[in-house]
Amino acid sequence: MFSGPTTSMEELLQFLYLTPVGVVKFKADGAVDLINPAASAILLSLTPGEPLTNIYASLVSLAPDLPRHVAQFNENSGTVIDQQRLEAHAGGKTIVLSLSLKRVNDDVYMAVLKDVTKMAEQEQRLFADQQKFRAIFEYIHDYAIYTITLDGIMDEWNHSVERYSGWRAAEVQGYSISLFFPPEDPESPDLSALLAEAKRVGSVETEGWQRTRDNSRLWANTVITALPDGAGTVRGFVVVSRDMTERKRMEDNLKLLATVDSLTGAYNRRQGNVLLLAEFARRARDGRPFAALLLDIDHFKAINDRFGHAAGDTVLRALVLACQSTLRLIDIVVRWGGEEFLLLLPGVGTGEAVTTAERVRAVIAAMQIPILDGAPLRITVSIGAAVPAGESPEQLLRRSDVALYAAKAGGRNKVVLAP
């Protein structure tokens, strides 16, 4: 015999009055037998005039097929409808219901009604977000957007990354992001340090070369942002890489334009000053010597006057080419003034400075420079050489200038070492 605590009829009624989902017991013809307030609230909001005596009548606008579904259900008990979504429009609002229907036995049916409007709206928003992201991944160019795990393993692959990198999903599933930053490349960033920093401060940005599938390189700006879960724990990262190769090329180009003399391809005077100061700094830091040669074309004005400026330009270009091919790669050729050039020879001391200057002088003196009309031109240069000795860059330049004048005064086509 049952001897536990009893539940009063009133408690059961209260329980049903307060049940937050709609429950309806009805007969095959739709006649409502029992209905709780939650169900009546839902049905009344759909059909305010209905007396709630027949569930089919209350749901006719949303589920006109309901009587047919029930009639065609040929098992004696079981689920007729399982959480079907019904959409209703009432009072300018869209209401989404979830309907489940069960046959209990011959003429006893139970329906569960839930207002899932909010859930449906959330799903709709989620779906819209997904569509948005899909559209971004599908159509965005020059960007790769993907997620990685805490260890840098790529766990999501989409069209944006495919287009960006050339790799297809199947080829790189589960690979590390270091696919883009080969560890053997000295320019690759330290990935674990980057990820640790992103985890610590939320986001890091890095710019540099990345490898693509065909082993070409692209210059990219990459932002790695920590992805916290609902509890604020970082579970991975979003990576957004932007292909900036074109911009990088343009920047390099601009830099070149700003530092190089457009006529001859030698460095311009401004960049010459920068490089001169850098040599001074290196000498002060590492004690590495260098030599400065100031070179001037002899009687250049006469060439211009006699053969025209075009011929003069040709001479200047030929001279720079001759210097560059005679000197080492690390030596620096600067167009210092009109027909005056500064040659910086890193690591070169007094003796070698004079030898090198002499070699340059001889090579130039031996050149035959073809011009448009007339026989090839021949030129000579005078060179003043100086090696810094605890002085300022200005003083060094003045000493080489004095030496250059001495070379001119000594008959030109000469090298003079500053005392």
Binding site: M9, E10, L13, L18, I35, A41
Partner: protein, 125 residues
């Protein structure tokens, strides 16, 4: 008592009578009466209403009527009107799920500024 009060659902002076009545007097009404404080908490639940719903006054009094007792009235037709209209005297046809049976009723919603209580009157059709 009933005769003395002369209870009638459509009585234009019903609000004044309800206001003046104590619980014992309210129990003599042939229709359900729910009295609520301004915040919606039940202060009186008369015998007729108790019979209709199957809930005893002691289990209802002190609880919020629209959310805790009769959620099917927590909508723009009933609760919203009490919450937004300080002067209210309107009758509407409604369906209650009394003891889970769909029951057609007539409701009269009564409220007046300055009064301590508002009333929901329920009559079976």
């Amino acid at each position: 008592m009933e005769a003395i009060m002369g209870w009638a659902f459509n009585d234009p002076g019903l609000l004044a009578k309800l206001e003046a009545a104590d619980d014992t007097t309210l129990d003599t009404a042939p229709f359900g009466v729910v009295a609520m404080a301004i915040d919606g908490k039940v202060t009186s639940y008369n015998a007729a209403e108790s019979r209709l719903s199957g809930l005893s006054p002691s289990s209802v009094i002190g609880r919020h009527f629209f959310s805790d007792v009769a959620p099917c009235t927590n909508n723009y037709l009933v609760a919203h009107r009490f919450e937004t209209e300080p002067t209210l005297d309107i009758s509407i046809d409604y369906v209650f799920t009394l003891r889970m049976r769909p029951t057609s009723v007539r409701l009269r919603l009564l409220n007046q500024p300055g009064h301590q209580r508002m009333f929901l009157v329920v009559e079976r059709v």
